[in-house]
Amino acid sequence: MMIIATIFSFFSLVFVKINGESAIILSRWIDSGNLSLDWSLQLNILTASMVLMVNLVSTLIHIYSVGYMEKDPKKILFMAYLSLFTFFMLFLVSSSNLLQLFLGWEGVGLTSYLLIGFWNYKEKANNAALKAFIVNRVGDAGLLLALFTTFVVFGTLNIGEIKLLINSQNESYFNFLGFDIHSLTLISLLLFVGCMGKSAQFGLHVWLPDAMEGPTPVSALIHAATMVTAGVFLLIVMSPLLQSSEFSLNFILIIGSITCIFASSVAVFQNDIKRIIAYSTCSQLGYMFMAIGSSAYTLAYFHLLSHAFFKALLFLGAGSVIHSMSDEQDIKKMGGLYNKIPLTYITMLIGSLSLIGLPFLSGYYSKDLILEILYLNDFEYSLQFFTMGVIGVLFTSIYTLRLLVYVFHRESVADEKVIAHIHESPLIMILPLVILSVFAIFFGMFMKLIFTEINFLEMWSYTIHVDKSLDASFISQNVPVLIKKLPLLMILIGTIVILFLYFSFRNLVPFLKLRLSFIYNFFKNKWYVDQLYERIFVRPTFYFGKGFWKSVDKELIDNLGPNGFSRIVLSFSSLISKLQSGFLYHYVLSIIIGLTLLISLYTYIF
């Protein structure tokens, strides 16, 4: 089924080239006052190519998981979840209004929740799934607010109509929480909050590494090709809007570069093979957002696509490694696998090198272009951001090579039993790896033109914002050779460092760990972000909950309300009943008092 879908989506891409943009309306959705929404599909070059990529990668992952999940008793459910995920992703990509996009957006969040918690007998998996959903919800709340603002400002949620109306709202201001904010800036920032959740940018990234508790094909699908890139995709779709807000672009650039440095530096100190790749995803997404922040939307999209291929490859390769190591994920317990599982090794190597950005592989073209654009940007601090990007490259090469060295090259430290069991994965798992590696090698080389050449930029500019001055010839003329070669230099440095640390001076590593334990722990514990959130958000929530419930609800309201009321009634009635004492002189006394009061009242009034 998925294969058929892929073929169809390829045709639809061709169709777009012939027919140009169109939207297919399926049915009405909501009509309420001046709000009216349809169920509809948008067809243009951006959505069609994204659909093709999603379908292609998820087809491969479907094939792969047939092999990977073979022994799992719930594999039918698993395949169903995967397909559901793909459905929501396609829904997200191809929607023509923002609310429908939001449906796909939440839908992928839901299916990722289900998939991460797939092995739900594991407590850790459940917690990770819960965390993923809730952190994503924080972003979603931001996105919801963005939708509301969009509707209030533009009066529509249809993406095409919004694009037409942008210029008319360029000067408008919107009162948000008492501040008058430039409305387009506000919308873009709120959109970006949503993207931060979904694309795991610094601040809302905490769910992504934990999400590695799910089965490996899930990580590949969620983290490589599709879900995490949804944020990037959304910003690319809304690029004309972003373009009219300088501030939000800078903000995106800053967050993107922080994420890039943060995630790649943390990845260096992790030991779980999947977590390393997850942090790497995080930092690559940082690159994409940096590209968006410097208005190079086509390049962001280019990196998105090429990243999808090599990261899916890496995750699936990691899955293959884990599979052959009897479900071991700690790279410290692996080693010497290069001749035992040669096919996996080669494909992993290709993926890793592509990730590092070795020349002529996919990652090289897309990532280096982003760095060059950063350099060329006329933004005040562009050089600083460029430096951050380049340092990111350094870290990338270090953690990737470290991974390769630990898993494949050092002498094995695994159990006898595990070693005896090491085997190459079945063909149905290797085949997707091979196909993906072909893409990881050649995609960049062949597709580079489409994203940079002036004629093609013209084609993109119908759907997204394109700065036409930034075409290939312009870049090649204006970037000095040294700058161009700087990333490569960084890769070399990284390689040398790794070779030094892990081959020549092995004793240095434990020594450094000891001496620099503070720094080591800082990175090892992911900059203590998780602990901080635990203190700030999680504990107070429970504290507040208990407090509100026990002291306000039970003590205050109930005692003032029904319990207090009944107490008053009770005490009053007991007071009354005391009056009926049965002694005659009590009654006589009260009659006398009553009569005097009555008479005096009577005389007073008349």
Binding site: I30, N126, T541
Partner: protein, 493 residues
């Protein structure tokens, strides 16, 4: 088409069914005969109530299917029935949920089953009466008489602390409605009529509006319930039997929202505008505060009860935003909450029937024991957290959007409620259904039986249909709401 007096039929039919139930002489726990008559009554009533949407004219904003009866030999105090777009969906919801309750109840045993069924059938008649009464006096009578069967349901068939809960429930609601009665008497004194349609034409001076508004508010705020009048709800839910909770959360709470739209918003526009910040304040507190409380609950029913208060917070936000999206959102939110919370209470009831406890920590890994129920519960959970494509989302989205256009701060804070809702519902789902199998539940139990599956499927389909085609409800209400919205020109609070 012949002109059926459909509303009197809908009200009287349960009473006839009630006669059959009461006349049967069974006294055992099964009471098959009574169950059969209850099912036939509620089924035919449900099918008959579908006559309303099928023959409803969407263009007319006024009351349709009007039937009028003399009451006190007075022209001004009549017993009038009729529906418009606002009340019609609630009548269908009532008959639908009562039918499901009876279906769900069919295979079960209970002491004095006959009377239990009788209470529900009686309740159905009163509910339809309340929603279709278009005369203040008859509305009040139906509104109050609902308390009687409900009080009995909680007080007789409830849990251990049922007497306290039933008393709390009764006290709160009665106190509110006494004030409403005063307001109704005042209106009759002033205008000499209690017909809602005629009262709509009058406008009152502001200071009188304020007092009347507060009187109506007292009654409906307790019913819906708003913070800080909500403490009866968790207790009532915890002690009520499953079907009682279903009806309580599913329909009774909606009376509050319905009353707000019908009376406060329609009669008293100036006072409504005046009090809107006050309502916003209470609603926001309700949303955030009860969500926090829901997170730390250890009884499933209590958790859902607190979440109901939060959901009703969205309803009041939507209603008093007084624009089309807000009112649409509020109505959809009420209907959808009626379905979703009913579904969740049914699920919890099924769990309770098997394990005799609702303690959250007692469970764990239930999805491995009853996988089908886990799937249904997940669907209902998603509905409750407002997942797009479910009915809950439409309500939350529309209400929040309308509030956002009025006051960004309120919408901003309320959107945290969306996050918190996901937290408590998914925590509940995790603790009960996921994780390793708790030794407590590791015994052989029955899978879902046929009646339960029917109930759950019907509810899930409703959730999806409303989520995907909300226009099915919205289109009926639009013309009636237009009149209300026109009372409120755009104002930014």
């Amino acid at each position: 088409m012949i002109n059926l007096p459909i509303l009197p039929i809908l009200i009287c039919l349960p009473l006839i069914g009630l006669l059959f139930i009461l006349l049967s002489s069974e006294n055992d726990e099964h009471s098959i005969q009574s169950k059969k008559s209850a099912i036939w009554t509620s089924l035919s009533n449900f099918l008959l109530s579908l006559y309303l949407p099928l023959n409803f004219n969407k263009e007319i904003p006024h009351f349709q299917f009007v039937n009028s009866f003399n009451w006190f030999n007075s022209d001004n105090l009549k017993f009038t029935l009729g529906v418009d777009g606002i009340s019609m969906p609630f009548i269908v919801l009532s008959t639908f949920l009562i039918l499901l309750c009876v279906i769900y109840l069919f295979p079960q045993k209970k002491k004095n089953m006959r009377m239990y069924l009788a209470s529900f059938i009686l309740l159905e008649s009163f509910l339809i009466g309340t929603f279709s009464a278009i005369d203040l006096f008859s509305f009040y009578i139906f509104f109050e008489s609902i308390l009687i069967p409900m009080y009995l349901i909680i007080g007789f068939w409830g849990g251990d602390r049922r007497v306290y809960s039933a008393y709390k429930f009764f006290l709160y609601t009665l106190l509110g409605s006494v004030l409403m009665l005063i307001a109704i008497i005042f209106l009759y004194q002033e205008f000499g009529t209690t017909s809602i349609a005629r009262l709509l034409d009058y406008t009152l001076p502001f200071y009188i509006q304020v007092w009347l508004w507060l009187a109506f508010f007292a009654s409906f705020a307790v019913k819906i319930p708003m913070w800080p009048f909500h403490t009866w709800l968790p207790d009532a839910h915890v002690e009520a039997p499953t079907e009682g909770s279903v009806i309580l959360a599913g329909i009774l709470l909606k009376l509050g929202g319905y009353g707000f739209i019908r009376f406060n918003l329609s009669f008293l526009p100036d006072a409504s505008i005046f009090f809107t910040p006050f309502i916003y304040f209470l609603s926001v507190i309700a949303i955030i505060y009860t969500s926090f409380i829901a997170i730390v609950q250890d009884d499933m029913k209590k958790l859902i009860a607190y979440s109901s208060v939060a959901h009703m917070g969205f309803v009041t936000l939507g209603i008093f935003s007084a624009n089309m999206q807000g009112l649409h959102g509020a109505i959809v939110q009420m209907i959808s909450h009626g379905i979703i919370s009913a579904a969740l209470f049914f699920c919890i009831g099924s769990i309770y029937n098997r394990y005799k406890t609702k303690e959250i920590n007692f469970f764990g890994g239930l999805s491995q024991k009853v996988p089908k129920m886990a799937v249904f519960f997940l669907i209902f959970t998603l509905g409750a957290i407002g997942f797009p494509g479910s009915s809950g989302f439409i309500g939350e989205f529309l209400t929040l959007m309308s509030v956002y256009s009025r006051n960004t701060l309120v919408a901003f804070i309320s959107s945290f409620g969306v996050i918190l809702a996901a937290t408590y519902m998914l925590l509940l789902y995790k603790k009960v259904f996921l994780g390793p199998v708790n030794p407590n539940i590791d015994k052989k139990i029955n899978q879902l039986h046929f009646n339960e599956i029917i109930t759950f499927i019907a509810l899930s389909i409703m959730i999806l249909i409303i989520g995907i085609k909300p226009n099915l409800i919205l289109s009926y209400t639009t013309s009636s709401l237009d009149r209300i919205v026109s009372l409120y020109p755009i104002t930014i609070f």
